[in-house]
Symmetry: C2
């Protein structure tokens, strides 16, 4: 009786304690409430990383999972099992139900501590996704070496293109206050195989390289180290002038090179395993080597020489966006970088966005992939949804990532996918990297909503193995996040899998891009035409008029198609062989152009906008159906955000249609709903305090 009362009161305490326990803070690492006893987990050897791995298994191992042994492949008892560990490399893991000394045990092993760390998380993922405990057999090694988050976080706490609160780096109170959240950040990243993080915005301030900020970065590096996460910094190219008092930042000036060497030495004294520098140079107003008549290779190699003695690298971004007026902004990166192939030092990797413009809801793969065989190319994705509805809209990005990764850069013969180019194996590159612009802020649920967490998760999983299936990733994420019950997992996966295409449909179907409002990039602005530089204006990208719409990138236009391999270029040169989803990216076509379906371009556009809105309605209904299966706090917030998304999908559709109709003078297809307001109303909407604006 007393025990029953105690249980009841404990349950009540749990219940009241969890009024905020389902606030999403735990991400996908929720773990079962009834744990295996602590002594079920044995670890062979000792290091901070092994301790972290063992602590995680103890934290997450459910009751009844049986004993777990963490030991490297060199351990005599493991070696005796003659497991296939060679191909695991330094970071791969093998997790298997085995018998040791006649006793059934789940072995987590690898060639070193890192493999065990990742294996530990793989075991927990397996169990939390509904996998059985007694018959585990997991083997995996990462296909990409550097799996890195890029935080566009400013030193004052603002996150550029961040929609989940301020930066999680409390720069002001670092290094003294070591927020436990930093450990949870490292755990989350390690659980999906990420092994690096760039702490500060690519639009960098020189101050981040001062002793004051190096000490702060070092404190984070100390916290992250047991979880295998290396710290990198974005470097402002003009720092030798701003901090060093030099007259120039010319990469060919020996004083400049010496300044960077000394700076690198200083950083490595504080952070012995510092990863290196990420650089945005000569782009959107950032300084760079071209200010001095030097090339991107000159700049990158000078920095690479500074970090080389310490084993560091330089990630040099190819996102260049100079202030000269290009005939086609989409061509600029290729034009500048392709000629530099082979000129970069071997500890430089060139970081290329997935598409040639800027993280649009859909872009064809970037023509640099496949075009620089002598240079390792990192791919940069945007996890934060600058152009896909901020944190408010549900858009599962794995299909977007996968679409680029699976694209064939050759177009005929033996395929060479973007994934293979990034992995670098065919070219024998030592470096390979995938970078994701983080969607992490100090919001309690890290990413603004529960479903946004899936994009962080999917990025990590794809960086580990770009061949993973988007739906399978969604499934394992949903099972860990909501519980392995198919009554919640199935609808959640269904919602996720159609969400990104819905955003494409209601914001810019058929290859339209860059049709958003100015500055904050929130909401529609296809009419914007008055900005100073031509390529800042949506009208530059869609080129719509009374007769037609689309950007002619064939020979009759900018001829950007010629930047692709010949077979790919041929396909993109003809609207009949261009995938309909990319049609207006490459072609300017009459509104009356007939698609394969027989519908006119205009009819198809309207149908896409309507489909986008309708799909969001379907997401809402799916979510309504799972209400009994999700805790109230996460359910309610998601429901509220889906309502926002439907309202804003309608806004996008109506505003876009009102504008297109003002140009083409065409009536809406029969049955299509007229926009709710006139064009002037849509143009008048203003959001001066939208989050995420650059400073």
């Amino acid at each position: 009786m007393r025990k029953t009362a105690l249980i009841a009161s404990l349950l009540l305490a749990l219940a009241s304690g969890t009024a905020h326990a389902d606030d999403g803070y735990r991400l996908w690492l929720r773990y079962a409430e009834t744990k295996a006893p602590g002594d079920a987990v044995t670890v062979q050897g000792s290091s901070p990383m092994l301790a972290a791995a063992a602590a995680e298994v103890r934290r997450g191992l459910p009751a009844g999972a049986g004993p777990v042994l963490l030991a490297t492949a060199a351990d005599p008892r493991v070696a005796a099992l003659r497991l296939p560990v060679t191909r695991l490399g330094e970071e791969g893991y093998l997790v298997r139900s085995v018998r040791i000394d006649g006793r059934a045990v789940t072995l987590v092993t690898g060639n070193g501590d890192r493999g065990i760390l990742y294996g530990a998380f793989a075991l927990l993922r397996h169990l939390d996704s509904g996998g059985a405990a007694g018959t585990v057999d997991l083997v995996s090694a990462p296909k990409i070496k550097l799996r890195v988050l890029n935080h566009w976080d400013n030193l004052d706490g603002r996150v550029e293109r961040g929609y989940a609160g301020q930066s999680i780096w409390d720069w002001w109170n670092l290094p003294d206050d070591r927020d436990p959240r930093y450990v949870d950040y490292a755990r989350a990243n390690a659980s999906i195989g990420l092994n690096g993080t760039v702490l500060n915005n690519v639009n960098a301030k020189a101050e981040s390289l001062t002793p004051r900020y190096i000490a702060k970065a070092a404190a984070l590096a100390d916290i992250f180290r047991p979880y295998g996460i290396k710290v990198y910094l974005s470097a402002r190219f003009s720092a030798p002038v701003e901090l060093g008092g030099l007259a120039t930042a010319n990469p060919k000036d020996p004083k400049v090179a010496a300044w960077w060497r000394a700076k690198a030495d200083e950083i490595y004294r504080a952070i012995p395993d510092f990863g290196g520098f990420l650089v945005k140079a000569n782009s959107e107003g950032q300084p760079g080597p071209r200010d001095y008549g030097a090339s991107h290779a000159d700049g990158a190699n000078m920095l690479a020489a500074a970090v080389r003695p310490h084993g560091g690298i330089v990630m040099w971004r190819a996102f260049v966006y100079a202030d000269t007026d290009p005939s086609d902004r989409a061509k600029q990166a290729y034009d500048e970088f392709k000629p530099l192939d082979g000129q970069f030092a071997d500890n430089v990797i060139v970081q290329v966005k997935n598409g040639a413009i800027d993280f649009q809801p859909r872009e064809p793969f970037h023509p640099l992939f496949g075009a620089m065989p002598r240079t390792p190319l990192a791919i940069e994705f945007q996890i934060t949804k600058e152009y896909l509805g901020f944190a408010s809209h549900l858009a599962y990005l794995a299909p977007l990532f996968a679409e680029t990764l699976e694209a064939d850069t050759r177009g005929r013969g033996a395929p060479l996918t973007v994934a293979k180019v990034v992995e670098g194996a065919p070219q024998g590159h030592k470096l390979s990297a995938m970078a994701g612009v983080a969607n992490i802020g100090n919001a309690r649920d890290w990413s603004g909503t529960t479903f946004n967490q899936a994009n962080w998760y999917a990025f990590g999983r794809l960086a580990w193995d770009p061949s993973l299936n988007s739906e399978a990733i969604a499934r394992e994420w949903a099972a860990q996040t909501f519980g392995a019950d198919p009554r919640i997992v199935d609808p959640a996966v269904k919602m996720m899998m159609k969400s990104r295409e819905a955003v494409v449909d209601y914001t810019g179907p058929l290859g339209l891009a860059h049709v958003m409002a100015t500055g904050h990039h929130y909401g529609p602005g296809p009419w914007v035409s008055e900005l100073k530089r031509p390529e800042w204006n949506p009208v530059y990208y869609h080129r719509a008029d009374r007769a037609g719409i689309g950007f002619d990138r064939t020979r009759t236009g900018s001829n950007a198609v010629a930047q692709y391999a010949p077979a790919v270029a041929r396909r993109y040169a003809d609207p009949r062989t261009t995938p309909e989803a990319e049609l207006l990216w490459f072609h300017h076509l009459p509104w009356t152009y007939r698609l394969a379906s027989g519908a006119t371009l205009w009819e198809a556009m309207v149908a896409h906008y309507d489909r986008g809105v309708a799909t969001v309605g379907e997401l809402r209904r799916e979510w309504d159906g799972v209400r009994p299966l999700v805790d109230d706090e996460r359910w309610t917030k998601t429901a509220a955000m889906l309502a926002v998304q439907e309202r804003e999908a309608i806004w996008w559709r109506d505003a876009s249609l009102a504008y297109w109709m003002s140009l083409n003078g065409l009536p809406l297809p029969a049955g299509a709903r007229a926009p709710a307001h006139d064009l002037a109303w849509y143009k008048a909407q203003s959001f001066p305090d939208a989050p995420g604006n650059p400073q």
Copy 2:
């Protein structure tokens, strides 16, 4: 056996669940883990507020506390007890162990739902502070009508003078997303008797009055209403121009008055119990009636007329800081407002800062208190520690608040304390108010550290009853926050009670003020002299030179003392009768001036700086001693911040002494440690990314 295992696993779950459960989120509302059964609480009547009160008691009532009845005094069973409820007024409560129908019960009553709400929290406070359950007898009614937080929160999420993250108002996702945190905010405020909140910065943007933002404010008002919290908005005086397209905001223009009436009507349609407007006018660049040759009374009364039909009020700030060069900035508010006494409408209250400059670690009480008998005066305190070490330093502010509240504005005969002026009873004012500039942000622990929460708490308690004792408030806060064990409460209270004087000592003893660095106000800057307006510069305030230091506010100087009642003025006019703690505020004295102790001014200053540093050392040692009694997360963060405070106390002391010595050429007294660096080093320190800067 199975039950034991279940208990064990539940305990384990609790333990792992509370890895972050001691992150300070629960504030002082931590409550016992073993609760009374839900049916121990009975509520008579139904309303959202009664439901909130009952839910809170159910949430917090510890096991064994016995039955609780919530019922208004009009309930027949309560009326039969003939309790002294008349003096409770509308908001007061009576909580007493009584017998009803022969059964012992804890009765929570009042003349209305508000009294019961406050009584419910009073009961929980009583129990959580170690009070007995069977012999409860709590009776209290608030002495001040409007007990209001002022959030200096901008629409883009930045908090001016905020050091605990971004605004807790997620303006972007309101009104759709109703963060459960808003409920917890309301609970916390209700628990200490606060009944109003001004959502946006006094440096207001007109946009906060647009329909878009009114809808967001209305969503918050809906959430706060059951907890008795009214919403107010800061109004930008020029909004009729910026939003209404009028050519003027002249309060005498009928079109302007009509615009405000229509705006008030619009707000009240969305928020029927909207509290009213807070206005900062003609101060620090804000627009105001004086731009049009009208007076503060003209401006306030015009707004008051707009909200009057709805029962709203106007809080008009007396913090004026015009761009003409005054002989003494400390005199400006009095000079502008004193002549307006009697001219304000009866739904206007003039909001006066506690001192005449700006929330310094110590200021004499503001001379307006007692000088405007025909006008209700609200007192404005700053809970956020703009000048007392941001969120980093431990400084318990109740002694600062109490020092002003207890000051006698008459100085002889029957005392009229500032508290009594604010309460307004002697003058028969209908309105009375205390406002506190909030120290709340979206940091997990709300206020940046655990001890900062005490300032929010103490402000609420003093707003309810300005006569409460600072140490008693500290004691009840500490007991609720750390547990009622005297081994933790006694040291915590000891730390708190000496903390504010320590800050005074190491930043600016003996009446020094405004000696901080520019802009962010972080760290020492007594040498700053080059800012455009004279009264922006610390040298304006301390007037130190080779011969002496201090601001002469006697007849030989600015004669600001004449703004006080004659007896007070006389005392302040003579350094011998001026309290030593305020000496240099009123007097310019030679460095060699002898204090009562026989020490010279210079010797005493050095001793104060040293005492400030030493006291912080004592705080650290006290905190080290309680380590076993505090959860690891809160203990560690507090310890880290105390280490920062000691380092920065030394910095303040050393920088200040280095500067004074550069002026007075005096040696340090025997035994005093020389500054660690030279003056140039201190001057060179720069903190471009310090938080809380105005935009």
